[in-house]
């Protein structure tokens, strides 16, 4: 009985994801970035990147109960790895103006020589995976000493790591690799992604980032619902009991931390792909806090919540509240009030209200399929302890 019920909701989820991807693909063709609705594409692109970042953070902070604040650092690693390995040869000297580029190898370019367009796509995929792997390896190195300590130390250590990594990547001695404090550009970016079939040019600029995020989030969902995901939750709920029931804490915490960082790396790479630039200075700890806020808004311990939280967050900050900065909002013209910076003020107030009055976030611990199930009364969490 359990099996058939699970299978049914798995199918529902699978079909809705397919429909969503088809819709995004359609929008990609119908809307041009310069249109009035072009903002929608940008929200979808950035929103899906942040959704992946938030879900991967939730895997660690929400599901395993390990509080880490290094997300921006792992995203930076991903963004740079991706950018460095996809800058075509001919652009390289222009990008590395002040340095002699050390890595002269664009994976998509090399593969396209023998395999054409498919090689380019494959190369981009490999660069993405490499971005995840670099972040994962660094996470492993940090995790070795830090995960043995109490979890408060993890937050401090990862926060420190993120700051150090940002400084290191701007260090001029590493310029031949990282381009110092200058930005990386002209690598494989989303705005250039196209598919040509039978003379038709189909835009993939929004579809590809959304697809990357969707596939990654699906993998995280599968992990969370597997026997490992349940072990993570056991560690979060009661570490002592988990260990007594045979769950190796060091090993499972490491798995959660490395997996979370792997997907943070992919999110960083996709962000670079969407923004067309990679610059260390953009990956400040403020970015980590923003992602943390999306997780909290959506509900800690709900993947659906993280996705909704990030999409709303990006839509509000990039689109709906734009008018607050440019003189006209909801038809009211007040250039003296609605000027640069006002949007951030309003935005912060909204977030404070949400965090104060919706403690459990939008979804609590519920997931999408739960919304279609019959309501079952569950005891209030606060009452126990």
């Amino acid at each position: 009985m359990i099996e058939t019920k699970n299978r049914k909701s798995a199918w529902i989820a699978f079909l809705s994801v397919l429909c969503f991807l088809a819709l995004v693909f359609g929008l990609d063709q119908l809307i041009k970035p310069t249109d009035k609705l072009g903002m929608l594409l940008i929200v979808l692109q950035k929103g899906s990147v942040y959704a992946l970042a938030a879900v991967s953070m939730n895997l660690l902070n929400g599901y395993t109960g390990l509080f880490s604040l290094g997300h921006a650092g792992f995203m930076l690693l991903g963004a740079y790895t991706y950018a460095i390995f996809t800058i075509p040869d001919k652009n390289r000297d222009a990008v590395y103006q002040y340095f002699d580029a050390a890595i002269r190898f664009s994976i998509p370019e090399q593969l396209s020589k023998s395999m054409g367009g498919f090689g380019t796509a494959l190369g981009i995929l490999i660069a993405l995976l490499l971005a995840g792997l670099v972040a994962a390896v660094l996470a492993w190195l940090i995790g070795l000493p830090v995960l043995r300590l109490k979890s408060d130390y993890l937050a401090i250590a990862t926060l420190g790591f993120a700051e150090i990594i940002r400084a290191v990547f701007q260090w001029s001695k590493l310029g031949p690799v990282t381009n110092g404090s200058n930005l990386l550009k002209n690598f494989a970016r989303a705005s250039k992604f196209k598919l040509e079939i039978a003379g038709m040019k189909l835009s993939l600029s929004t579809f590809v980032p959304v697809l990357i995020a969707t596939v990654s989030i699906t993998l995280i969902v599968l992990l969370v619902n597997s026997t490992y995901g349940r072990a993570f939750k056991a560690i979060r709920d009661d570490e002592v009991a988990a260990e007594a029931m045979g769950i190796n804490l060091a090993r499972h915490k490491m798995i959660a931390f490395v997996t979370s960082s792997f997907f943070a790396g992919i999110a960083g790479a996709t962000l670079a792909m969407v923004l067309s630039i990679a610059q260390a200075n953009n990956f400040k700890s403020a970015m980590t806090y923003e992602i943390l806020l999306m997780v909290v808004l959506g509900g800690i311990g709900s993947i659906t919540g993280s996705v909704i939280g990030s999409l709303l967050f990006v839509a509000a900050s990039e689109w709906w509240l734009r008018g607050l900065d440019s003189g006209k909002f909801l038809g009211i013209e007040a250039p003296t009030v609605f000027r640069n910076g006002f949007r951030l003020v309003v935005f912060s107030v909204i977030i404070m209200i949400v965090v104060l009055f919706f403690r459990k976030g939008i979804m609590g611990e519920k997931e999408l399929p739960d919304l279609f199930r019959k309501k079952k009364k569950a005891p209030e969490k606060g009452e126990q302890s």
Partner: protein, 284 residues
């Protein structure tokens, strides 16, 4: 009895916290298939003894053998060398400090005095997670669901276990929404899910009324039969202890003050002075 093999052997275990010697030179033995009880007044060091046996604390001195192998050993070294207040300081010379999960893997499982169920999970998942230890799937086979057969088998075993312990009808409830007695029973079921040879129960009847205690007594006897486990338990309910224990160890201020069959222990003057008299007072 005596020809049965030794399941657990505790040798000269001393556990010192700062200047407090919580367990002082404890030696005891549990043979296969036995039900053995540890009793003693509050703060006697019973739970601490459990924590040493199950790997939560490394002892300050002493050794624990389980199922024929030395699994835990330590001696006063480093800072403790100067500060050690116990005996037999020179008897042991090796350090063996496994983590609790390693010992669970070898076949020990325990319950907790202050119930420690996973509170966000259902009754079913609480038991299922304890089977994680027995899985052969790795991260990838689990994520990509190529471990379906194993997952299905573990789910079936979980359901069967819940049926045996009488919790199948509440399997989809949140573990912490159960009444107290059932939570204790669930903790035992969860421990059994790891397929232990030795089951350690820390005050399984705490907070239960006489009726529930009676049921629990039968339940513990039944588990020994059905699962073929050896049981070491800590308990303050004397009816339960005297009823089901083959042998009893009595601790007071960290020291073993008596041991023997229930009949022997009940007659022991020291035990009556230190503990049984007090219990009778307390229960009246």
């Amino acid at each position: 009895m005596s020809e049965r093999k030794t399941m657990l052997q505790v040798e000269n275990v001393t556990m010192q916290f700062g200047g407090v010697v919580a367990v002082n030179d404890l030696s005891m033995e549990v043979r296969e298939g036995e039900i053995v009880a540890i009793i003693g007044p509050n703060g006697a060091g019973k739970t601490t003894a459990f924590n040493v046996i199950t790997g939560v604390y490394a002892p300050t001195n002493g050794r624990v053998n389980f199922d024929g192998n030395c699994v835990v050993e330590n001696y006063p070294h480093g800072k403790m060398k100067k500060n050690y207040l116990g005996e037999h300081a020179g008897l042991y010379s090796h350090v063996k400090e496994p983590t609790p999960d390693e010992l669970t893997g070898l076949g020990m499982a325990r319950t907790f005095q202050n119930i420690r169920l996973w509170k966000s999970m259902t009754v079913f998942d609480n038991v299922l997670v304890a089977k994680h230890l027995k899985r052969s799937s790795n991260l990838f086979s689990a994520t990509f669901r190529s471990n379906r057969a194993e997952e299905a088998r573990q789910r079936k075993e979980t359901l069967e276990l819940l049926e045996i312990v009488g919790l199948a009808d509440v399997k989809d409830e949140l573990a912490t929404s159960l009444p107290y007695g059932k939570q204790r029973r669930l903790e035992i079921a969860r421990a059994l899910a790891t397929q232990p040879k030795l089951l350690l129960l820390d005050e399984p009847a705490a907070g239960m009324n006489p009726q529930e205690t009676q049921e629990l007594t039968q339940f513990i006897g039944q588990i020994r039969k059905d699962f073929g486990v050896t049981i070491l338990l800590i308990e303050h309910h004397m009816d339960l202890v005297m009823d089901i224990s083959d042998r009893i160890y009595v601790l007071d201020f960290g020291r073993l003050i008596a041991q023997g069959t229930p009949a022997e222990v009940q007659k022991n003057e020291k035990v009556i002075d230190a503990y049984l008299g007090v219990v009778d007072d307390a229960e009246n």
